[in-house]
Amino acid sequence: MARREWTGVAAGVAFASVMLARAGEAAAAPPGDPCARASCSTLRGVVARAGDRRPLPSARVLVVPETTTRKPGDVPRRHHLREGQTPAWLRAGTTDAEGRFAIDDVPSGRLRVVVVADGFVRQETIVVAVADEPLRKLFVEPVAGDPFRTVVAQKPRRSDAPQSSSTALTREEIATMPGTQGDPLRAIQSLPGVGRSPGGLGMIVLRGAAPNQSRVFYGEHPIPRAFHVLGFSSVMQADVLDGLDVQPSTFGARWGQATGGVVLLRPRRGRRDGVHGHAKADLISAGARVEGPLGRGSYLIAAQRGYVDAVLQVVEKVDPTAVFALPRYYDYQAQYDLHTRHGADLTVRAIGSGDRWRGRYLDDTGRRVEGFVLTDNFHRLELVHARQTARWRTLFTPAVRFDAARATGEMYAGTRRGVVVSARAEVERAFTQRFSLTLGTDLVVSPFRVHTQDSTFATMPTSRTIEGFDATVGLYAVGTLRLGRVTLWPGVRISGFARRAPENTGVQHSEAHAFDPRVLARWDVAKRWSLRGGVGLYSQLDDVAMSGSDGLFGSGNSLGAGRVELPPALQQALDPQIGVGELDDIVNVLTALHGSAGVTWTSRFGLTLDATAFTRHLVAPQSYVTTGTGPGLPPRSRQPYTVEAQTRTWGAELLLRQRVADRLFAWLGYTIMRSDVIDRDVRPPVRRPSSYEQRHNLVALASYALPRHFRLGARFRVVSGSPYTPVVGTIVTEYATVGVRGRTNSARFPVFHQLDVRLDKTWYRKRTTWTAYVDVQNVYNHQNVEALIYAADYRSVIGTLGLPIFPSLGVRLDW
């Protein structure tokens, strides 16, 4: 008879059953009772997952006598117990929630401890048991080749969270998603409703809304920037997050100051089961994290540093003719969580981010000269106090943020500094099983100081300092009403906006308010069917921050022998937006009407289908005042002149998702969308595609755990080409050849398509996990067009810009 090895999950459970059955037979026979010949005691120990040392609950622990002379320690798989080997006796137990087990009537001496758990490789260890002494911790290795437990979830964290359409990503999904280098905000770009970021740069485009119309919240407060310079990375590591929610539109009244969508980053508490952490390094950055218990609470500290500049400088040393713009960045997150004796959760958190980008060129002598330096930093300190009882829930969180940005060129310098104070206070009362009400307020006050110096004209250097503030205050109420299978979330948000930037002409128009009713609903039609929808108004103050690049990333800039025409979306992605442009007091409030309706169906085999239709109508006023004085100029205007642009967006999303245990997660996402800007300032009104319209966006993604702890993933994207404004002619002036642009966004780049592949390999040790990965973007090196390079005289297109094949290698240690 062939010997059989008991491996795998099902086989492990079967092994335990067989052994337990035989143990019953053995126990019935008096010669098999070990306590008849020796003293017995209770054998205690702890079972933990290898690598991250998490306690393993519900694991079966079997103890049998060890009959070989093998040394104590882990038993190689080839020497595991086989079917047909009947032990003289057997004792069994099960681990509790803390991974602990206690098995009675176990004799001292040489024993073999077998641990069998669902999803883990069977572990056999030879031990020498001493009466009343606990065993050393036992570590078992997961079956799937993934250091994380991977879960694809698309349901709200709380079943009654008011959101009509939302997609959640877990930290584990983010870590293994191909083409994202494990970055949390790059990961959401694979979801339907989230647009492809032009040039692969850091932008969040939700249902066609411009990036500055959506907000990213880290915890309860917005962060000023989601990505580091050039979109190399988010301003936080995925490991500090518990997960994130993407609500591309029709979100609840709890969130304001956004007419697009919101991305909610959920910070994670530090672990209390020991000191853990990670260290990682790849071609562009290195990062680390450490967390553990501290007093009655827990701490978590993480930081990362990008060193693309150092890599590029090595290239420059090899090639004296090479010259690069050198980006560098860092970010950090630190928090302490405490569950107080009064039942409240207290969190103190500090986060920060900094970027520096040095643009250089070769001068006539071949020397590298700095053309511009852009820096942008923020640091935030916050406190979160939350308490929940049977009927009440309260939240109070103040925060203060320090912003500093600087743009320096050969002829100009601009700085912007600000101290942003924000707060949220909220109380929720559950009146009955069917009805609860949340009342809250939030505010953001942003005093700023902008200082600019321009020495373009040496004989007339100019200097300008503006001090002012932006302020938004919101009051909101959200009800939760459960009517059988239907749940309604009616809500309202009242917002007040104020601005003071005293460089205007005396126009007193610096305050505004908005009243935004919203209602969201979900109907659980049947066990596997649910309908959801929402409609509401959304308002936000327009951005005071303006271009900080002083035309560095405008259109028509020289590149080699040509001129680069950057589409507006790419210009905005590159621009640091640090606010050294013209400012005025005028409050322009953008208003949007959102509507969405969708259906969710789940098959019994784990296949889930989500289909959502959405619409968004944005009204964006832009006001001007006449600020100049002098002979021949009209007098200062008393009232601002306002033009209005409207954007109408409608479309549909489809998400087909499949998950097979922890081995496979895959989805197919498709978005069809049309987004038109209607310029009513001209007669007849002009309708044109918005800069962020991506009419078709298809994402297919799969990640599969292979044997030997390999994981292979791939992502394929096909997206309509971005609109751009073509150059239709030229004017030759005495200074240069100037391109004449045709109808705005009247042309499109070719269809974008790209395949990204990622391969992970994990090595499990008892207390650590090593992971190496290769993540290759644009595997077949397709030249996707993100911008055109025209000849210097604009008579022809001589090239294009796009991301070539981009491999990234990384290694990571977890403990």
């Binding site: 021949g632 239709v728 002619g729 004017i731 030759v732 004449v740 045709g742």
Partner: protein, 306 residues
């Protein structure tokens, strides 16, 4: 496009004269300016007559695309016409009288546009029609050359507008200096055969006989007067502030010739091709104060027949 003051107006009596063989770049109200055009690329120089350009005037660098069909019919007969847009006719060159402005209104300098269809690609009429659409559908085959009229000297304008700073009077050196004038292309030094051959002195417009395969070196001999020095004011310590013009040059050829590029080098070397009857080289010089001049040399290729 070259602009020169062809007929000085009454205000020009206030400024110092320029050399007899030079023409002022900057105009004053009441002057009449002459407009000339050279349309060239590295491989071709177009005859201006064949282009038949239309000359348009409006105020501001981007004003061309505010033109309507009505503006194309509006003659430039006063400052108000400049504000919206007007036309000064068709032809290889044109003249425009700078009107005396209404000083209570904007005093921005007008921009002159020459719009022409490149023969074989577009007609001038089609180009004019395209620019009246907003934005234009396509300007393929249209040559559009723009040039803003420069007003000056600055001290005359300041006096005219009453904006002279009494604390810092204009120094007499500035009042008496020669006004800004266009550089001219007049003389070349040509060597045929080898770089060490005896140079031939040639003047703009001359024709030189060469054989196919000849090596030809052409060097532009600039006139030092064209790099003008200007007094532009007095600094805080009482010293005069001066600037010096930088004069650059650029070559164009009537046909594709190996060695001829649009380089800025004043010396060009080329090999005479054997498949053309003549090679015409045009040199455009410009200075850093808006002055432009050009001139050409024609190399007639001997066909080698006995």
């Amino acid at each position: 496009m070259r602009i020169e003051v062809a007929t000085p107006g009454p205000l020009s009596l206030l400024v110092a004269p320029v050399p007899a063989d030079r023409h002022r770049v900057e105009a004053l109200p009441g002057d009449t300016i002459a407009l000339q055009l050279l349309v060239a690329s590295s491989q071709q120089v177009w005859a201006t007559d064949a282009l038949d350009p239309a000359w348009l005037v409006c105020e501001g660098p981007d004003c061309l695309f505010g033109f309507s069909a009505a503006h194309l019919q509006t003659p430039c007969d006063g400052p108000l016409a400049f504000l919206d847009g007007c036309t000064i006719g068709r032809g290889a060159d044109a003249r425009l009288r700078i009107p005396v402005p209404d000083l209570t209104r904007s005093f921005a300098a007008p921009t002159v546009f020459a719009v022409a269809g490149v023969p074989g690609e577009a007609t001038t009429e089609a180009c004019l029609q395209a620019i009246t659409h907003r934005p234009p559908p396509s300007l393929r085959g249209c040559a559009i050359i723009a040039r803003s009229v420069r007003y000056g000297p600055a001290w005359v304008l300041q006096a005219l507008l009453g904006s002279t700073d009494p604390e810092r009077p204009t120094p007499p050196e500035e009042l008496l200096q020669q006004p800004n004038f266009n550089p001219e292309v007049e003389r070349f030094s040509v060597r045929v055969g080898s770089a060490g051959a005896t140079p031939i002195d040639a003047r703009a417009g001359d024709t030189i006989a060469v054989d196919p395969g000849d090596d030809v070196w052409v060097e532009f001999e600039s006139d030092p007067r064209d790099a003008q020095r200007f007094v532009v004011g007095v600094d805080a310590t009482g010293h005069l502030t001066r600037t010096v013009e930088y004069v650059g040059s650029q070559w164009y050829a009537s046909t594709a010739v190996e060695g001829i590029t649009t380089a800025f080098d004043p010396t060009q070397h080329f090999v005479v091709p054997d498949d053309v009857d003549a090679v015409r080289l045009d040199l455009v010089v410009d200075d850093s104060n808006g002055g432009v001049g050009w001139g050409s040399l024609t190399f007639e290729v001997d066909d080698g027949a006995p």
